[in-house]
Structure formats: structure tokens, C-alpha cells
């Protein structure tokens, strides 16, 4: 029982749409409505508990032209994204490479490296508050031991964001795991081919591992980008955006406007601006991905 090409296409079509049914339903039921609603809110001056009236694009206008806090928080966020994503990608990939070898105690090492991702945030933020402590913290003790001057870490405007970035890089266990899973899918025969040609470890990495890993690298890049732009929890607990708004990440500002100042209309407009920024950046990443992401399964 063999199939011709058009029969195959027809079958793919039928099954493709059927299998996409749950997700499509999900979009219609759970996503589209609330998203449209939030856009609707962004066109009003609604404050929770108060009256609301339609103000058109006024919120957007105010944000872009007359909200210095927005400008600051956008700057802080972009700074944070730039300080985090490249380093985190390299760190997660490096760790995954390390943990993909046959070393003794591998399972224990893997588990330990994943710990920062699973320990409740309340424990890890308390730990980092101590690490960052300028007077008694572990980080300054180590730095001063080597004879260098210590830092004020999250407590000075200049060093606050790099410190938060450092903490995020420490928690790359999630991405490391994804890389690790990706490394398992690199076809072994490709390595054998390089070995037959007499290639060493570097050639194996450069000609096999790296190209085969591009889909995973791409995934992690997109995800980290989105995640970093929406980063929120730790900063909210540790600095509440201070000192002098130096760590006011975009979503921290968004929460402040929405749930402290209760200006939900304005906050919705803020959300949509972030949304547009992320969508545009992700689209760019997707577009450029055609040039460097290599799919064994034959591309998009």
C-alpha cells in the first residue's frame, strides 16, 4: 500500500488540522479574548474601582512622550537583557557540554547544577541578599581576599543591574537542561564521520555539535530574550526597583502601575508596548535564524 505525493499532502492536511485543533481551540477560548480585552483597557483611563472612559491612544502618547519612568525602565530592561542573554547562553551551553561527558558522579553534578532552578525563590533570594551584602557577603569576602576592592552590588545604581544579571546567569540550569537534551539528539554517526577523517575534539565541536545544536540555541535565545524582557520576581523581592529606580525592570514598573497605583488602563498600554517590542525582536530573531539555524529535518 504505497501513497503518491498528492495523497500524502491530503493526508498531512487533514491530520495537520485535526492535531492542531486543541491548540487552536485554546487560542480561541483562553488567549484571544483576554488579549483583545487588555488592548481595550489600554484605550481607557480605567483605574481599578473607578469609572473608565475611552481616551483613544492617549495612554500610549503619554508613555512615549511624557513618562520619564517608562524611559528609565525601558533602558534598565534593555541593559539587563544585553547583560544577561549572551552570557547566559554561553554559560548554559558550556555547562551542558561539561555535563555531557562521561565523568564520575555525572547524575549528581547534573542534579546540583539544576538546583538553582528548583529551590524555592524565597530561599535563593535570601541567599543572594547575603552574597551581595557589601559588608559581610561572600562575594566581597572573596574579592577582597584577592586584594581587589569590593562592590556595592545591588545597592548602588551603577552596579545594580550587572549584579542582577549575575544572579540570573547563576540560574541558567533550565537552559542547560534544554541544551543537554539537545546534545543527546546529535546523531552519533556524524561524530564517527569526523573521527574517520582524523578530526579532533575541536573539529567535532565546530563541524558537528555546533551546527546540530543550532535549533536548540535558537530556541534558548528566543526564550531567554522573552524571559529577560519579562523578568520580574527576584527584583520585585530584592530591590523593589531601587535604588533610585536603577533596577526598575519593565514588568516591575508595570506591576507598580497596575496594582499599587491601580491604573489598569495605563498599565495595559505599557503591556502592549512591551508586547510589540518583544514581538518585533522575536520576528527579527526568527528571520535571521534562516541564515544560521540548521534543521536536520529540512528547515521550515
Amino acid at each position: 500500500m504505497s501513497r503518491n505525493k498528492s495523497g500524502l499532502l491530503k493526508m498531512e492536511r487533514r491530520w495537520g488540522m485535526l492535531l492542531a485543533l486543541p491548540v487552536t481551540l485554546g487560542l480561541l477560548l483562553f488567549a484571544i479574548g483576554p488579549i483583545i480585552a487588555s488592548f481595550g483597557f489600554s484605550l481607557t483611563d480605567w483605574q481599578i474601582g473607578g469609572q473608565s472612559s475611552f481616551v483613544g491612544l492617549d495612554n500610549y502618547k503619554t508613555i512615549v512622550t511624557n513618562d520619564p519612568v517608562f524611559t528609565k525602565s525601558l533602558f534598565v530592561t534593555v541593559y539587563y537583557v544585553l547583560a544577561t542573554v549572551p552570557v547566559a547562553i554561553i554559560a548554559a551551553f558550556g555547562l551542558a557540554m561539561l555535563l555531557n561527558r562521561k565523568v564520575k558522579g555525572l547524575s549528581i553534578f547534573r542534579t546540583i547544577f539544576f538546583l538553582p532552578s528548583i529551590v524555592p525563590r524565597i530561599a535563593s533570594t535570601m541567599l543572594w541578599l547575603w552574597l551581595f551584602n557589601p559588608d559581610f557577603g561572600l562575594l566581597n569576602s572573596m574579592i577582597e581576599f584577592v586584594g581587589l576592592p569590593g562592590s556595592q552590588w545591588i545597592y548602588a545604581e551603577e552596579t545594580a543591574i550587572p549584579s542582577i544579571a549575575l544572579m540570573s546567569v547563576w540560574g541558567v540550569g533550565n537552559y542547560m537542561i534544554i541544551f543537554l537534551a539537545g546534545l543527546q539528539s546529535v546523531p552519533a554517526h556524524l561524530y564517527e564521520a569526523v573521527e574517520v577523517d582524523g578530526g579532533g575534539a575541536w573539529r567535532k565541536f565546530y563541524h558537528v555539535t555546533l551546527p546540530s545544536m543550532t535549533p536548540t540555541i535558537f530556541f534558548n535565545m528566543v526564550m531567554m530574550q522573552i524571559g529577560a524582557f519579562q523578568s520580574f520576581d527576584s527584583v520585585y523581592v530584592m530591590t523593589q526597583g531601587g535604588p533610585n529606580n536603577a533596577t526598575l525592570l519593565y514588568v516591575v514598573y508595570l506591576y507598580r502601575v497596575a496594582f499599587t497605583e491601580t491604573k489598569i488602563g495605563y498599565a495595559s498600554a505599557l503591556s502592549w508596548i512591551l508586547f510589540i517590542i518583544i514581538v518585533v525582536l522575536t520576528l527579527i530573531t526568527f528571520k535571521t535564524s534562516r541564515k544560521w539555524v540548521y534543521y536536520e529535518g529540512g528547515g521550515k
Binding site: 485535526l18 483605574q47 481599578i48 474601582g49 473607578g50 469609572q51 519612568v69 541578599l129 547575603w130 551581595f132 551584602n133 557589601p134 559588608d135 559581610f136 557577603g137 556595592q152 545597592y155 548602588a156 545604581e157 526597583g241 531601587g242 535604588p243 533610585n244 529606580n245 526598575l248 506591576y255 507598580r256 497596575a258 496594582f259 499599587t260 497605583e261 491601580t262 491604573k263 489598569i264
Partner: protein, 468 residues
């Protein structure tokens, strides 16, 4: 054939899933049937049919201690009021987000805890029950200390503080004894002047060689014990502004007043404690220090400024020999009341019953949070009648000096935190906090920082709420 059976399998799975989910949800629904808001809102059950059991929902937050005390209170209320059935809903964490969501979705409880900012906002939007309409029916509603009411319009009381809390000075008695310095006064009329306070703080601040801050060789970079530590929020600058006759806004409530001399002086004095006198940890060290009771116990700090709620933790710390004093004065001895409120939402179908519960929910006869030190009563008699005072203060959580530094201080010298009366305070505060950071980090003098804040704050000023 195979394909068909696979498809069947898929739909079967989906069906099973939906069945499981609906079972779970109806299960959840059953557990909650008694308190589900749709139940309490069925038209048949209005307060005009007194025989029917009225169902109320009360939302609150707090640690497990507080929760236990509240559950006990709710239980005894339900037992003594057979026609009212209150369901307590304890919200762990992120209360504000939940409250905002419930308000936005019109899914409100009948009675609830609320922060002062939201209370004012929603009170003026008409979302909260005006107590003054019920003074005839429930005269006890008027028995509270005047400063514990929140008014959105003259005479319109929309809330009452759940409990009273004022800002006081706590200290480690042992450190004072060792330094041979007399203890901070607990009598408000004897309050230290600022200079006296600074001089004591200097005597108590010790570097790692045991030299105090008055010693010419004192090493300000290696301080082991600080004389005094303070928070950087309204709990600290609030009472000092009051004491110095300054304010966030001027008398009219329409103009920014933080850059007036009386206000600037307060912030400059606080900045000087850190960077001139070296008796207080800077913002960085301060944020990194443990809870106040541990600071005192571990001798990181000799005196702290904190609210009366801290009595609970201070008393529980058995290794600490602490005392209470009044705050130093700048012109007049003053402190502020800073607390959350309990409100009745206007959306309730049963305002009378809700008020009945309201009066019960923070009655010291029914709630065990007063004797532990966490709460102070709001009702006047607990500050004036000997027996009533004894009822909540005759215990280890209230040391002898509390009679002066707690009760007399509240009665004669405590005013409602001015921030509680400022309209649009949450938004003003979110501009104020980053600007004040410049003072706490010594980047600007108080005058410069407060001048720079003026154009940012002024457009947000909307006046003040009345005080009665």
C-alpha cells in the same frame, strides 16, 4: 482501520479528561458551596428575611498565628450569631493583586482587610460602606479613637484601622547598661531633643576596637555596633516631620512642602546620622540587616525605630532584653499611627450583618492578638479605663514602660500618618521613594533632592482627605 481506532482513542482521552476536570471542579465547588458568592447573592436571601441564614465572606491576610486567632474569632462569632454564617478567607501572599483583581471583576467579599492607599481610593469611589449611616443602629461604631477612622468626605467614615500601630523606639537594655548611658525616656514629655539623641547614639556606636563615635580615633569604616537604625519609608520620616512641624504637603494640602525648611531639616538630620555622625548604617547596610529584634539581640544596633507590632517578635526573642521608649523630638514630641484597615464593601447584600461582624472581628474580648503584642486596640476605653488597659497590657509582651511609651504616647501624641490622608498617595509615593534614595545614598543633600522632587510630585497632588 488503524487510523480510525487511533482517532477514537484520542476523543476518548479528551472525554475522560473533561470528565475528570468537571469532577474536580464540582468537588471544589461542593467544598465551597457555603461561601460561594453566587450563593450569597441569590435574591431570596436578602436581609429583609431575618429567619434565613446570612452568609458573609471575610478576606484577610497574616501569618499563621494571626490566621489561627482569626479562625478562632470567626468560629465563636458563628456560634454566637446563629443567623449569620461568616466564612474566613485567608489569602497567603500577594493580597494586593488579588484584591485589585476581585475589585476589577466585581467579585468582592463582604468584609476585608485593606491597605490605607486602596481604602482611600475605593472609599472615595463609593465602593466602601459609609459607617456614619449606621451610627444610630450600631453606636459602638463611634467608640473608636478618632485618629483610627478614615474619612473620604467630612463625616463620611469609610474604614477604621484593623488595629492601632504607632512608631516607637526600641532598645537593647544591656548595651545601655554596659555603656553607662541612661535609658531612652518612655515619658513623652521627657522625650530627648535631637542633640541629646545624637549624643547618646554616638556613645553607643562602637568600632571593632571598642572605641565609640566620640573618640577622635574612631574608625567609621569598621563599625561593630551602630547606635541607631531606621527604615527609609514614611514610618521614619513621618513622625519626625510631624514633630518638626513639616509635612509632605502644606497646610492647604495643595502644595508640595518637602522642600520647606522644617521638612528639609528632618531629612538632613537623618542623612547626617549616617554620613556625618556615623551612628547609623547606610541604606545598603540597613537593607541587608536582619529583622529589628535580631539586630538588637546580636548587638548590631543599640536602638531601632519600629512599629508597635514588633512587640510580638521582640518578646518572642528570649535572648533579648529590650525596652521601649518614645521617639526623640525636634520641636514637639510626636509619633504617627500607621496601620491597615478593615472595610465593608458597598456591594454587600447584608450591610447590617457585616457591621455586626465588623464590630466583633477586632474586639479584644474575642481576638487574641492584643496580648501577644501584634495589635493595639482601636476603641477609646482601652486607653483610658484602668481595667480595660490592664486587660490587654498586663502580660510579658507589654513591659512596664509601655504604659507611657505605648498608651500615653498614643493617647496624647499620636496623629494619623499624614500620608494616610493624602489623596493619590500610592502614586506620589512611587515617585517619592526613588527620589529619596538620593538622600539615603548620599548622592544629594536633602535640600537638593527635595527640590528636584518638587516638579515630579506637584502634578500628582490632589489634596487631602478630611480628618473627621
Amino acid at each position: 482501520m488503524m487510523v480510525i481506532s487511533r482517532r477514537k482513542w484520542f476523543f476518548l482521552l479528551l472525554a475522560v479528561l473533561l470528565a475528570v476536570l468537571s469532577a474536580c471542579s464540582s468537588n471544589g465547588g461542593n467544598n465551597e458551596a457555603t461561601s460561594s458568592p453566587s450563593d450569597s447573592q441569590t435574591p431570596a436571601e436578602t436581609s429583609e428575611a431575618p429567619k434565613e441564614t446570612v452568609k458573609l465572606k471575610f478576606m484577610y491576610w497574616g501569618s499563621t498565628d494571626e490566621k489561627k486567632a482569626m479562625e478562632q474569632m470567626i468560629k465563636s462569632f458563628n456560634e454566637s450569631h446563629p443567623h449569620i454564617q461568616v466564612t474566613g478567607e485567608h489569602v497567603p501572599g500577594d493580597y494586593n493583586t488579588k484584591m485589585n483583581t476581585l475589585m476589577a471583576a466585581n467579585e468582592l467579599p463582604d468584609v476585608a482587610y485593606l491597605g490605607d492607599g486602596l481604602t482611600n481610593k475605593w472609599g472615595s469611589e463609593g465602593k466602601l460602606l459609609d459607617f456614619s449611616q449606621y451610627y444610630d443602629k450600631y453606636p459602638e461604631l463611634q467608640n473608636k479613637l478618632k485618629a483610627s477612622y478614615l474619612f473620604t468626605e467630612p463625616g463620611k467614615a469609610v474604614a477604621n484601622f484593623t488595629a492601632l500601630e504607632i512608631m516607637v523606639l526600641y532598645y537593647n537594655k544591656d548595651i545601655f547598661a554596659e555603656a553607662g548611658v541612661s535609658l531612652p525616656p518612655s515619658d513623652p514629655t521627657q522625650a530627648w531633643t535631637w542633640d541629646e539623641f545624637v549624643s547618646v547614639a554616638k556613645k553607643l556606636t562602637k568600632d571593632n576596637k571598642g572605641r565609640n563615635a566620640e573618640d577622635p580615633n574612631f574608625d567609621a569604616k569598621n563599625i561593630d555596633t551602630y547606635g541607631f537604625s531606621f527604615g527609609t519609608d514614611r514610618g521614619t520620616y513621618g513622625p519626625l516631620l510631624e514633630s518638626n512641624g513639616g509635612g509632605i504637603l502644606d497646610e492647604s494640602g495643595k502644595n508640595y512642602a518637602l522642600n520647606e525648611p522644617e521638612s528639609v531639616e528632618v531629612f538632613q538630620k537623618l542623612q547626617d546620622l549616617i554620613y556625618v555622625h556615623h551612628v547609623s548604617p547606610n541604606l545598603i547596610q540597613q537593607q541587608n540587616m536582619p529583622d529589628n529584634h535580631v539586630r538588637l539581640q546580636t548587638r548590631k544596633v543599640a536602638m531601632v525605630l519600629d512599629g508597635t507590632w514588633a512587640l510580638l517578635d521582640l518578646t518572642n526573642n528570649k535572648k533579648l532584653n529590650y525596652g521601649i521608649g518614645v521617639l526623640p523630638k525636634l520641636k514637639e514630641p510626636k509619633t504617627v499611627i500607621l496601620a491597615g484597615t478593615t472595610v465593608v464593601f458597598n456591594s454587600t447584600k447584608h450591610p447590617a450583618e457585616a457591621l455586626e461582624f465588623y464590630l466583633y472581628h477586632n474586639n479584644p474580648d474575642q481576638v487574641d492578638l492584643y496580648r501577644t503584642g501584634l495589635w493595639m486596640p482601636t476603641e477609646e476605653k482601652y486607653y483610658t479605663e484602668e481595667a480595660a488597659i490592664k486587660q490587654w497590657t498586663d502580660n510579658p509582651a507589654h513591659p512596664p514602660e509601655f504604659q507611657q511609651a505605648g498608651i500615653a504616647y498614643t493617647k496624647g501624641y499620636a496623629v494619623k500618618s499624614p500620608s494616610t490622608a493624602i489623596k493619590n498617595w500610592p502614586e506620589i509615593n512611587s515617585k517619592l521613594t526613588p527620589g529619596l534614595d538620593l538622600i539615603w545614598t548620599n548622592k544629594k543633600t536633602a535640600q537638593e533632592a527635595l527640590d528636584e522632587l518638587k516638579p515630579q510630585i506637584e502634578p500628582l497632588i490632589q489634596g487631602e482627605y478630611p480628618n473627621e
